[in-house]
Amino acid sequence: MMVRTNWLGEFLKHSVLLAGAIVVLLPFYLMLSYSLKSPAEIESNTGGFVGSQEIMTDRRCIKAGKPPEECDMRPIVYNYTAAFSEAPLVRYMLNGVFVTVSIFVIQVLVALPCAYALSKLRFWGRDVVFGLVIFCLLIPVHAIALPLYIMLAKVGLTNTYAALIIPWTISVFGIFLMRQFFMTVPDDLIDAARMDGMSEFAIVWRVMLPTAIPALLAFGIFSVVAHWNDYYWPRVVITGNRDLMTPPLGLRMFKSDLDGNEYGPMMAATTVIVLPLVIIFLLAQRRFIEGITMTGMK
């Protein structure tokens, strides 16, 4: 069969996709652009992407009684310094890192041995436990947030890091994914390890864990993205204590604190929170897309 290129068709396809890409990228463009420009330029939609960067005066700085020459700065500097000084952005980011990493580590510690037992050990009740895993896949954690919140409130754990982490310690999806993966690992590998006198614990962590790296990576991407971006659960269990807020929740508080024309600092904060994942995504695109689709079930 001869392959002929339909140049007109190709052109039309690119036009449609390009139009779509512009709409998709519009908010990212605005976010970056607003984080660079002065309030006046933002409100009048002038100044192109970076704005004119004319020196402006920081009113809050004057109010704080500092000499005026210290308070004159370029909009880009003003926006980003205000973002970091008006809200504990660094704290939010560190909270986000701590919570997402803790969740992922605990999920693996719980799921990996269970997946190993379900795929490679024979014991009474194995099918029941696997049935339980499948059944639990039906329950989205966000749907049972209210009873979880009540339980945590009853034991006095709301407004703690524990509240942010506990509901996510069990990932039935992780168990399911790891089990499917371990099913493909040959039994000979495990038998050989047993012959060498390795304990079952050593087999899980020193034989199975290394073979599971690709699946773990996919699951890790899924887990970290989901929990870095999660807003609903932190919103439910953290009420008012800013020291515990994760990036999306902190950003939401920042937004409700602002008076009308603080778009610049607000967008600077948004950029700082959105950028880490976006940069990692652009660097490891293929892995991310694979990870998220492989785990697309949730």
């Binding site: 069969m1 190709e10 396809k13 690119h14 449609v16 996709l17 779509g20 890409a21 998709v24 519009l26 908010p27 990212f28 605005l30 933002i42 939609n45 510690l109 719980v110 799921a111 041995p113 269970c114 037992a117 014991f123 436990v129 339980l132 895993v133 039906l138 989205p140 966000h142 749907a143 009873p147 009540i150 339980m151 509901p167 310690t169 069990i170 039935v172 079952e200 899980v204 870095w228 971006n229 807003y231 919103r235 439910v236 939401r252 937004k255 778009y263 967008m267 948004t270 929170i273 959105v274 994942l277 976006v278 652009l282 695109q285 991310f288 897309i289 998220i292 689709t293 697309g296 079930m297």
Partner: protein, 317 residues
């Protein structure tokens, strides 16, 4: 430690956590949905089905179901169609496919709450860039004629665009006729890239020989190839994508909480937001639990539909 007991150490933590954090809460919600329980009050009354009765009779909850269902019915078909369309176009491109794929997937990765705030700025009725762009089209004779339909001889004021040019463009999130559609637009913007990658994965599993066979049988146009080969082979992917999008869009919360808080006039009062408002903010845990149970029911039905279709009709491979 005997070999025969070691599995208990492996499955024990997982089983305990599943029971305690997934199964038990469902029972807690089911139980509390028949009470007037609230935090801070040690005792509670058994009130039977009163909470459920409220869900079906009160107009607030009618609006809640309407908002949730409308949102799902807007987001699912459009984001699935756009995902499929994007996947088909991208997979047939000679160059540049990877770039579009990355761009369309970007919103899936980005923090939705943060991007919702950006959309809110963009959709601001006065200073927002969306209405600014729309307004600028009004002064360009050709564009105005095209978009308002007056080039076909219609009265420009009768069309949406012509009317908006004469009066003004909508408030979007502040107008009860537009708010849910606007929230749905953000949902589609965020989610269609996810459907696209699922479809791209589905497309790679369609055997090449089938296209050649179809070609031999005289199916020459792109549409014929799609209708005879691609679409039937995508059966399992379709079921998967539709159920996943439905379950995901049923859970919409971030955009509603940050941008409209269920308003205006309860037009965006979706179920998860109602659960949050009643249960967490107003401490009405009975009614919140009843919404939880109904919500779980919906998710269960969607999943059962998926299982049914996957097992019955759509297996070709």
């Amino acid at each position: 430690m005997g070999h025969s007991r070691v599995h208990l150490w492996f499955i024990g933590p997982a089983v305990i956590l599943m029971m305690g954090l997934l199964i038990f809460p469902v029972f807690v919600a089911a139980f509390l949905s028949f009470t007037d329980y609230n935090l801070g009050n040690p005792s509670f009354n058994w009130i039977g089905v009163e909470n459920y009765d409220r869900l079906v009779t009160r107009s607030t909850y009618k609006k809640m179901f309407t908002a949730s269902l409308t949102y799902v019915l807007l987001v699912v078909p459009i984001s699935v169609a756009l995902g499929l369309g994007a996947a088909l176009l991208i997979s047939s491109l000679r160059i540049g496919g990877e770039l579009y794929k990355a761009v369309f997937f970007l919103p899936v990765m980005a923090t939705l709450l943060a991007m919702a705030i950006v959309w809110e700025f963009a959709l601001h009725p006065i200073v927002g860039v969306v209405n600014d762009i729309l307004r600028s089209g009004c002064d360009v004779g050709l564009l105005h004629a095209l978009l308002s339909g007056s080039w076909l001889g219609g009265d420009p004021l009768q069309s949406w665009y012509g009317h908006a040019c004469a009066e003004d463009f909508p408030l979007w999130l502040g107008d009860k006729d537009y708010a849910l559609g606007t929230i749905a637009f953000i949902g589609i913007w965020q989610g269609f890239g996810f459907n696209m990658v699922l479809y791209l994965a589905g497309l790679t599993s369609v055997p090449r020989e089938l296209y050649q066979a179809a070609h031999m049988d005289g199916a020459d146009s792109a549409w014929e190839r799609f209708r005879l080969v691609t679409w039937p082979m995508l059966g399992p992917t379709n079921v998967f994508v539709v159920t996943i999008s439905s379950i995901r869009s049923f859970q919409v919360f971030d955009t509603v909480e940050a941008l409209t808080r269920g308003g205006p006039a309860k037009s965006t009062y979706v179920m998860v937001y109602a659960m949050f408002e009643k249960g967490v903010k107003q401490n009405l845990l009975g009614i919140g639990s009843a919404i939880t149970i109904v919500f779980l029911g919906f998710v269960l039905i969607l999943t059962l539909i998926q299982v049914y279709f996957v097992n019955r009709r759509v297996h070709y491979a």
